[in-house]
C-alpha cells in the first residue's frame, strides 16, 4: 500500500516539479503565468465578475470617462468598458485556442507525412511554401471575404489557415531531422511499420517544437484577430472583443481615449504573457529552437 502511494507521489512530483521549476526560474515567467491564469479565471467566470452586462446599451451614460460607477468609463452606447473588456477575454482566449488547435490538427499530420514520405513532402511542401508567400493579413482578409458572413467560425478558419502552413513547416523540419536519428533507422531496419514509427516515436519527440509553435501561434493569432476586428472584417462587432472595441473607439480617440486605451492594454498583456511563456518553454524544452523561432 505504502509503496504504491510512494510511487504515485513520486510520479506526481516528476510531473509537477519541472513545471514548477520552469515557472519559477525567471521572475518574468511567473508573472506571465499569473497573468494567464488570471485571464483564464476571467474567461471561466464570465459575466459573474463583471460589474455590468457587457452588451447593455445605456445611452444616457454615453462617453463617460473613468469614474466611480464605471471604473474604466463608458463607450458611445453607454456600455461599461470594464465589463466589455472582461467579456472580450472570453472570446479572445476561445479564438486563440481554437485557432491554435485548428493549426495543430491540420498541421501536425500533414507535416509528419511530408517529413516521412519524400515524394508526398516534395509536392505538398510546395503548396505550403506558396501559402506562406501570402502575407498573413492579406490572406486572412481574402479568406474572410470568401467565407462570407463575418462570424466566429469563419475567423477561426481564416486565421487558422494562415497559421497551419507555419505549423506544417515546423513539424516537417523536425520530422526530417528526427528521421536521421539512429533509433529510428534501427526501427525501420527491424521492419517496424511506418505508421507505427510515426505515431509511437516521432510524434512524441515533436511535442517540444509543436508546443512552442502553438504558444507563439496563440500570441500572433489573437493579434491578428484583433487586427481583423479593427479593420471591420472579423467577428460581428456587437460581440465584445478587444480588437472590435478598438475599432469602434478609434473615432473617439480624441474625445474618449479610454475606449481604445484599455482594450489595447488587455491585448498587450495577453500577448506579452504568451510570448513570455513561449520563450520559457522554448528555452526549457529545446534551446536549439531559438535559432529558428
Amino acid at each position: 500500500m505504502n509503496g504504491r502511494d510512494e510511487a504515485q507521489r513520486e510520479r506526481i512530483r516528476d510531473f509537477v516539479s519541472p513545471v514548477v521549476k520552469l515557472l519559477t526560474k525567471r521572475k518574468t515567467t511567473l508573472l506571465a503565468a499569473s497573468i494567464l491564469v488570471a485571464f483564464l479565471f476571467i474567461a471561466a467566470t464570465g459575466p459573474a465578475i463583471a460589474p455590468y452586462d457587457a452588451d447593455t446599451l445605456n445611452l444616457s451614460h454615453r462617453l463617460q470617462g473613468p469614474n466611480r460607477t464605471h471604473l474604466l468609463g463608458t463607450d458611445h452606447f453607454g456600455r461599461d468598458i470594464l465589463s466589455r473588456a472582461l467579456s472580450g477575454t472570453r472570446i479572445t482566449l476561445l479564438l486563440g485556442f481554437s485557432i491554435s488547435a485548428f493549426a495543430l490538427i491540420l498541421g501536425l499530420p500533414i507535416g509528419m507525412l511530408c517529413g516521412f514520405y519524400d515524394k508526398f513532402g516534395l509536392i505538398v511542401m510546395r503548396f505550403v511554401d506558396a501559402m506562406m508567400a501570402f502575407p498573413a493579413i492579406i490572406l486572412a482578409l481574402s479568406l474572410m471575404a470568401i467565407l462570407g458572413k463575418p462570424g466566429i467560425l469563419n475567423v477561426i478558419i481564416a486565421v487558422g489557415m494562415v497559421w497551419a502552413p507555419r505549423m506544417v513547416r515546423v513539424v516537417y523540419s523536425s520530422t526530417l531531422s528526427l528521421r536521421e536519428n539512429t533509433y529510428i533507422e534501427a526501427a525501420r531496419a527491424l521492419g517496424m511499420k511506418p505508421s507505427r514509427i510515426l505515431i509511437r516515436h516521432i510524434s512524441i519527440n515533436l511535442l517540444s517544437p509543436v508546443i512552442v509553435q502553438a504558444t507563439f501561434t496563440f500570441a500572433f493569432s489573437i493579434m491578428e484577430v484583433a487586427a481583423l476586428n479593427f479593420l471591420g472584417v472579423g467577428i460581428p462587432p456587437y460581440i465584445a472583443s478587444w480588437g472590435g472595441m478598438m475599432n469602434e473607439g478609434r473615432t473617439y480617440i480624441t474625445r474618449a481615449p479610454w475606449i481604445i486605451l484599455f482594450p489595447g492594454l488587455f491585448l498587450a498583456m495577453a500577448v506579452l504573457s504568451f510570448n513570455l511563456l513561449g520563450d520559457a518553454l522554448r528555452d526549457r524544452l529545446d534551446p536549439k529552437l531559438r535559432r529558428v523561432m
Binding site: 506558396a130 501570402f134 481574402s142 462570407g148 500570441a219 484583433a226 487586427a227 480617440i253
Partner: protein, 315 residues
C-alpha cells in the same frame, strides 16, 4: 553551388505558379457583387447584369483562368473594375508610398533592433539589458494599430510635431519633405518588428559569444572589437537574417493596417478597399505581386545564406 541555385530556382517557379493558381481560385469563391457596389444603391437588376456581362464575370471559371494566366505573363494583370485603369498601373501608382513606408520601417527595425539586441547581449543580465528586454517584449506585444493611433493623437494631434495622415508622392512633386508624413507610420509599423528582431539578435549573439572559437580568439589576444565584428557578428548574422526576411512579410502585413490608420495611399489600403468593394482584379493583382515578391526575396535570401554558410548548399 550551381545545382543549389537550379533547385531553388525551380522551386521558386513552381511556387509562383501555385501562387497564381491559389489566388485565382480564392477570388472565384468570393460572394458579393462588385457590379452592385459600382452602380450604387439605386441600380436596377438589369443594369447590374449588364455591367457583369461587360466585365466578363459571367464566363466559366476555366475560361477566365486561362485568360488571366496568359495575360499575367504579358504583364497584363487586368483592369480594375472600379477605377477603369490597368491593375498594374494602379499598383504602380501606390507602390511608391508602400515601398517608402516599408523601407523606413525596415530602417527602424534594423536601426533599433539589431544594435539594441547586440549591445544588450554584450552585457547580459545587466540593468540595461533587462530594461531593454522588457521594452522589446512590450514592443512585440502591443498592436501596431493601437500604437499608431496613440502616436497620431499625441504627436500629430496634440503636439502638431508631425503631419497626421496622408502622403503626397515625392516622385511627382520632388518634395523630399513629404517623408515627414511617413515618420509616424514607419515607427508604429517598425516598432513591433524591431522588438522581435532585437530579441533574436540578442539570443543569437549570446549563443555565439559562448562558443569555443570566441574564447580561443580572446585567448589569442585579439582586440575585443575585432572579436565581436569579425567572428561573433558574422556567425550570428544568419539567424538575424532569417528574422529580417520574415520581417518583410510581417511589414507587408502590418502595412495594411498602418496604411488604414494613417490614410496612406499605398498598396495595403488599396487591398482593404478592394476587398470591401469586391474589386477582384485588384485583389488578385496585389496578392500575386506581393506573394511573388516574397518568393523572389526568399530565393535571394537562400542564395545569400548559401554563400555565407557552405553547409547549407548541400541540404
Amino acid at each position: 553551388m550551381f545545382s543549389f541555385i537550379a533547385r531553388r530556382g525551380i522551386g521558386m517557379l513552381v511556387s509562383t505558379f501555385l501562387v497564381i493558381t491559389i489566388t485565382f481560385i480564392l477570388m472565384q469563391l468570393v460572394p458579393g457583387d462588385p457590379a452592385a457596389v459600382m452602380l450604387g444603391a439605386n441600380a436596377t437588376p438589369e443594369q447590374i447584369e449588364q455591367l457583369r456581362v461587360s466585365w466578363g464575370l459571367d464566363q466559366p471559371m476555366l475560361v477566365q483562368f486561362y485568360h488571366y494566366f496568359t495575360n499575367f505573363f504579358r504583364g497584363n494583370l487586368g483592369e480594375s473594375l472600379f477605377h477603369r485603369q490597368p491593375v498594374l498601373h494602379i499598383i504602380g501608382q501606390r507602390a511608391e508610398t508602400s515601398i517608402l513606408l516599408g523601407l523606413m520601417a525596415l530602417l527602424v527595425v534594423v536601426g533599433i533592433g539589431i544594435p539594441g539586441g547586440v549591445l544588450s547581449a554584450l552585457k547580459p543580465n545587466s540593468w540595461a539589458d533587462n530594461t531593454f528586454l522588457l521594452f522589446a517584449l512590450a514592443g512585440a506585444s502591443i498592436p501596431s494599430f493601437w500604437l499608431g493611433l496613440m502616436l497620431m493623437t499625441v504627436i500629430a494631434g496634440k503636439l502638431h510635431w508631425l503631419p497626421s495622415s496622408g502622403f503626397t508622392s515625392i516622385l511627382a512633386t520632388g518634395n523630399l519633405g513629404n517623408l515627414k508624413n511617413l515618420i509616424l507610420p514607419a515607427f508604429s509599423l517598425g516598432f513591433v518588428n524591431a522588438a522581435l528582431v532585437a530579441r533574436t539578435a540578442r539570443s543569437s549573439m549570446l549563443d555565439v559569444l559562448q562558443a569555443d572559437y570566441i574564447t580561443t580568439a580572446r585567448a589569442k589576444g585579439l582586440a575585443e572589437r575585432m572579436v565581436i565584428v569579425k567572428h561573433a557578428l558574422r556567425n550570428a548574422s544568419i539567424p538575424i537574417m532569417t528574422v529580417v526576411s520574415f520581417t518583410f512579410a510581417s511589414l507587408v502585413s502590418g502595412a495594411v493596417v498602418t496604411e488604414n490608420v494613417f490614410a496612406l495611399p499605398g498598396v495595403g489600403s488599396l487591398i482593404v478597399q478592394s476587398v470591401l468593394k469586391r474589386d477582384y482584379p485588384v485583389i488578385q493583382g496585389i496578392m500575386m505581386v506581393v506573394a511573388v515578391l516574397y518568393v523572389v526575396i526568399n530565393f535571394i535570401t537562400d542564395l545569400t545564406y548559401a554563400s555565407l554558410d557552405p553547409r547549407i548548399r548541400y541540404q
